[in-house]
Symmetry: D2
Subunit: 141 residues, 4 copies
Amino acid sequence: MPDPFVHRLRVRYAECDAQGVLFNAHYLAYIDHTITELWRAAYGGYQNMLERGVDIVVAEAQMRFLGPARFDEEVILEAVVTHMGMTSVTSRHRFRAGDGRELLDATMRHVFVDRETGAKTAIPDWARAGLKPWHMPGPAS
Amino acid sequence: MPDPFVHRLRVRYAECDAQGVLFNAHYLAYIDHTITELWRAAYGGYQNMLERGVDIVVAEAQMRFLGPARFDEEVILEAVVTHMGMTSVTSRHRFRAGDGRELLDATMRHVFVDRETGAKTAIPDWARAGLKPWHMPGPAS
Amino acid sequence: MPDPFVHRLRVRYAECDAQGVLFNAHYLAYIDHTITELWRAAYGGYQNMLERGVDIVVAEAQMRFLGPARFDEEVILEAVVTHMGMTSVTSRHRFRAGDGRELLDATMRHVFVDRETGAKTAIPDWARAGLKPWHMPGPAS
Amino acid sequence: MPDPFVHRLRVRYAECDAQGVLFNAHYLAYIDHTITELWRAAYGGYQNMLERGVDIVVAEAQMRFLGPARFDEEVILEAVVTHMGMTSVTSRHRFRAGDGRELLDATMRHVFVDRETGAKTAIPDWARAGLKPWHMPGPAS
């Protein structure tokens, strides 16, 4: 079994809401930040992907919020690729606090698109190969 | 059949990403803005709810992104309450552009919590009654 | 003396920080939202400006924070153009709460740039004319 | 002469606007992120400060935007304390890109307030001592 891709983010003051915890929409942003880092590891970064003529858009998100992330707390984000289809990639994202508390369990589906036309396009071989180290097929959530 | 609750938001420049469209995490924020307005209509606003000793937290989100919302475009957000359980409220959110294009179809589950302890609490009668005008039971999505 | 350009924004939950008030960086975003509306009134909107080949970038900001803006509070934003130079426009922005409390007094300097090259460019005549109704020369702050 | 306090931030996709560069309001947020780290180094973090009964609010900001910060670019943020008055601290913030380009030169004034009453309060001795290593008196900008 491969290890998940791991990224760490510290909760910023500006990201907390009046409840003093990470505002819900920022969880989706944190997933995006993690995917940016996953792309860097998988195929040299987002810019590199654009230069090869493809872009990626979010198609679906399923999120279960399991506990609050507090200001200044470091969040450990683990990502695995659970499915690579013809044009889309499904990934699972788990957030934990430093003390082990579970914060989020999410499944995302991203679609590869042609950078110029915006139309769906097959996942390029280099992208498929780049993501392989974190490909852990299985039930999404 | 009741009418959905309708809110309108114009896409701000700061909310657009380098693709020139509303960044994905802001869709979740837009749902939050809509729910703030729904609460205002349903029971006099969020502050009013806090003063009665309850708060609300997001438990689940399921989102299907159907098309991009562009800078300065007005988005029409329609919300209905699809289920009121013992402690949680499920709502469905559809975003459309002014020209009719579908942008998002999402289902949210919020949980009522005691403001002091943070523990789940039964939906108060006044909250249940307040949401009733937009209660449209049915399959969530 | 001309009237200032007036825009109103309600403080969103996601914009509040753990102090329960509008986070400082969002004041700068609010100025940006106001300027978007000023451009709409002055010359048909930002997109229209881009299509004529010019863009605008922020060069300077001077802000005095006079009091907190609270969640769900409506903020009244007044803008006047205090100076139109060769390539830059200086504007003053005052934020007040509905109850009259002063929230912010800011001065911004924006520079017109060629959309393609990014180089400074003279303020086009149509832009100068469009801003004229809100031009109130005087000491900036 | 003391060395400035240095923090590094990578520009996130969600922080870029449709011009493909860091949106102007996020520069103010970046200063806030830097100050959070400065506080950690100076006196054990923001929470620690709150527990001692004081909080800090922004009173003034002066910003000169010198060049765009691009997506995924690492920004080097240097901060020095230029003045410690009775109740307020003035700091200077310079942002540079990895290739040396200057991005921002800003001066901030923060005021210490009593956490309970919100009233201005004298800078506590422990705070004054904690900031001393980065105190570099001089013209702010």
